[in-house]
Symmetry: C2
Subunit: 385 residues, 2 copies
C-alpha cells in the first residue's frame, strides 16, 4: 500500500502541539491557563438542549436523517435569514444542513473538477481545515498574503489576471480567524465582481458573524444576490453548540445546491434528526447570540485594556472571541509567547498560523468572568523580556 | 467554475428512483408496501435512548468531540470484541469512532496515494457508497463479477497477478448486501494471503454480522491478526440506530489507525459525546442484537416459505435483513418486479445493483410482524406473468 504522502509528512494540528506544551508545564507543577482553543466553556443556549431532549424522547424508533436536513430545519434557517438580513431564501432549493461548518469546508471541494490545475485560494493565515482539506485531497493551493498594511485581508489588487484564471474556490473568512479582520461591503462587491468575471466561486465562512461588538453586524455574503457565492454558517459559536455539530450551506445558486446535495448523499453527513430539533431552537432565537456577544464584549474590553496597558497593539477585535495583537518592541512571537507562559497564560504564537503571523499572538477569550479576572491579573504581572 | 463531472452525469441513488415509483403509484391510489430500504422501523435498543438522554441532560456545556472518539467509547468496543470474538484490542491505538460506517467508507480512501493508477476493488453488486466515493474522488475502480456459480463472492482465482498488482483497497462485505453471501474462513485466509503478498488493504464492512440465523455467527475479519486489514462495524442495524450515526473503524495495524486519526481531524467527523454515550450502551449489551435477530429470523422463515411456494429460489438469507431471489422461469428482473407491484409490494430489481443482478430481486424485511403478515398474504396472491 502507498499512503497519502501528506498524512506522513504533515505536522500535527498546532493546537495539539500547544496542548503538549501545556501538559508538560502542568507536569512540572506550573499553573497555566490555556487560551488557545475556540471552544466555548459556558452553557449552550438552554433552548437547544431542551429541544434536543424532547425530540430524542419522542424518538424510540431511529431512522436515517436526510442528507439535506429536514425541511423544518431548513425553514428555520430561511426564517432566521429573513429576520436578520432581510433576504428571502427558499429552504428546499437554497439551503442544506451540515454537521457543523468544519465538515462542510472539508467536503466542498468535491463539487469541482480539479483536473486542469485549478486552485483553492485561502488567506496565508487561516483556519487550518481549508489547507488540510486541499492537501489531503491533493488540490493545488494558493495562499494570499495578509499584513497590517491591507488590514489582514487578501489584497485583491495585487493579483494578476493570469493568476485569477486559476482560482476556482476562494475562501473568504470574515470576521477572520485569527486576525479578526472584517471585510466591508466594498470588499465583498469587488471580490464578487472578480468571481463573476473569472468564473470562480467565493465560499464565505461566517461562523463568527453573530458575535460582534460594533454597532452594526459584519457584512454577510447573504446580503448579496450572486450565483458565484456559497455561504457557510455554524451554530457552534453563536449558540455554544460545538459538541452538537450543526451548521448550514446556503447559496442562491440552486444548481450548486442541487449538486451539493447529490454529492453529499454518499458521505454520511446527515445530522441526527434530534440534533436538528436543537438546531431549529437555536436558529429561532435571535436574543441569545446577542446576550453571548454582550458577555464576550465585556471580557474583550477588559482584556484589551490590560494588553494596551502593557504596550500591546490589539487589532480589530470587533467580532468573534479572539484577540490578535503585537508589541512595537518585538518582531518575533516567541519571546512574547514565553513571557505569557511565565505569567501562567498559554497563547498561540502567530507563526502557528503561517509565516505572516510572525510577531503576533492570538488569545482566545471564550472564557468565564472568573477566568477573565485571573487572566487580567496575570497580564498585569507580565514581565516583557 | 468546472463542476466534478461525476456529479453532473451520474444517476441518482436507486432508492430515490424506487421511491419516485412508489410515490407515483400512491398518487394513483394504489396501496404499495415499500420493501426497498434497509432502515429498521422497530425501536432502537432502549438502553441507547436512555443513555443518550442521560448524557445530554448532564451536558449543559457543549464541547468539541474528539475525532477518534472518547476513550470510554473505544473501551466499550474493545470489551465487546473480547466477549464476542475472544480478541484483545487496544482501545487507544486500534479503534477509532465513526459517524456510522457510511461516513467511514466514504473517507477511507484518503488514507492512500492514488497517483500511480492504483485501484479500489468492489463487488459488481454492492452498497453504492463504495462506488460513489471512488467516482466522486476520481479513483479508478474495478468491479469484480458476482454470480451464483461462485456463491456471489468475488472469484479470487479468476484474477491475474498483473491485476492484483493494481489493487490498493479491496472492499469485502460479508454478509453481503444485496445477495446475503457470507465469506467463510478459507475465503478470508486466501484473501489476506493475497493482500500480504501484493501489499493491498482489505477493508471488511461488517454491518450485518450480528444479525445472523445460522448456529454460528459469520466469520469476522476481527478474528484475523493481520496488518493488511481494516474492519468497519456499525450500530445502525444491530442496535437499530440508523438515525444516531455511530460506528467504528478497527485495525491491528496501529500505524494505519494513527494515520486514519490524523486524516480525520480536519473532516469534522467527531461524533457528539452524548451519542457516544448511547453507543457505549449499545456495545455493552450482547442480548439485544440476538433478540432482534430472533425477530428477523421468524419473519425471514415465513417470507422464504411464501416465496418458495411460488417457485422462487431464495439464496443465502443466513444474515442481515434482505432476501435475494430469482425464479427459474424468468431471466429478467423487471417482469417479476412489475408482478410484485401488481400485488402491492415494491421490491428492488436486481439490476439496480449492477448488470450481474439481472434476473434477481431484493426484498427488505426489517419490517414489523403485522407488515410481515400482509406481505406473506400478498406474496400468496402474486400472479406471475
Amino acid at each position: 500500500m502507498k499512503i497519502n504522502p501528506y498524512l506522513i509528512h504533515s505536522k500535527p494540528y498546532f493546537i495539539a502541539a500547544l496542548f503538549a506544551r501545556r501538559d508538560a508545564l502542568q507536569a512540572e507543577g506550573r499553573d497555566v491557563i490555556s487560551l488557545v482553543m475556540g471552544d466555548p466553556i459556558e452553557p449552550t443556549y438552554p433552548g437547544v438542549q431542551q429541544a434536543t431532549l424532547k425530540a430524542l424522547e419522542a424518538t424510540p424508533v431511529s431512522q436515517y436523517p436526510k442528507t439535506e436536513g429536514s425541511l423544518a430545519y431548513r425553514q428555520a434557517i430561511a426564517d432566521w435569514a429573513q429576520r436578520n438580513y432581510g433576504v428571502t431564501l427558499d429552504p428546499k432549493s437554497e439551503i442544506v444542513s451540515a454537521n457543523g461548518s468544519k465538515e462542510a469546508i472539508f467536503h466542498l471541494s468535491f463539487l469541482f473538477d480539479w483536473s486542469q490545475g485549478q486552485e483553492i485560494w485561502i488567506p496565508s493565515m487561516a483556519y487550518p481545515v481549508y489547507e488540510g482539506a486541499a492537501h489531503i485531497q491533493g488540490i493545488p493551493l494558493r495562499k494570499l498574503p495578509l499584513s497590517e498594511a491591507t488590514g489582514f485581508l487578501p489584497d485583491l489588487d495585487a493579483i494578476t489576471p493570469e493568476q485569477w484564471q486559476r482560482c476556482q474556490l476562494f475562501w473568504l473568512n470574515s470576521p477572520h480567524n485569527p486576525t479578526t479582520a472584517i471585510a466591508g461591503r466594498g470588499y465583498f462587491e469587488k471580490l464578487l465582481g472578480l468571481a463573476e468575471h473569472y468564473g470562480f466561486v467565493v465560499c464565505s465562512d461566517e461562523c463568527y458573524n453573530e458575535l460582534y461588538y460594533s454597532p452594526e453586524p459584519p457584512v454577510s455574503a447573504l446580503e448579496f444576490d450572486s450565483q458565484q457565492l456559497i455561504v457557510l454558517r455554524s451554530l457552534s459559536k453563536r449558540s455554544h453548540m460545538t459538541g452538537y455539530r450543526m451548521g448550514a450551506i446556503i447559496s442562491r445558486n440552486r444548481e450548486l445546491i442541487r449538486l451539493i446535495t447529490k454529492m453529499r448523499a454518499p458521505m454520511g453527513v446527515g445530522t441526527p434528526d434530534f440534533i436538528q430539533a436543537g438546531g431549529i431552537a437555536a436558529w429561532n432565537d435571535d436574543a441569545h447570540p446577542k446576550a453571548f456577544a454582550a458577555l464576550y464584549k465585556a471580557r474583550r474590553d477588559r482584556l484589551v485594556s490590560a494588553l494596551e496597558a502593557k504596550g500591546f497593539r490589539v487589532f480589530g477585535a470587533e467580532a468573534g472571541f479572539y484577540l490578535w495583537f503585537s508589541h512595537p518592541d518585538y518582531s518575533q512571537s516567541d519571546p512574547l509567547y514565553e513571557a505569557f507562559i511565565d505569567t501562567g497564560l498559554l497563547l498561540a504564537p502567530g507563526h502557528c498560523f503561517g509565516e505572516d503571523g510572525e510577531g503576533y499572538l492570538r488569545m482566545v477569550y471564550c472564557i468565564t468572568d472568573a477566568v477573565t479576572d485571573e487572566v487580567v491579573k496575570r497580564i498585569g504581572q507580565l514581565q516583557l523580556p
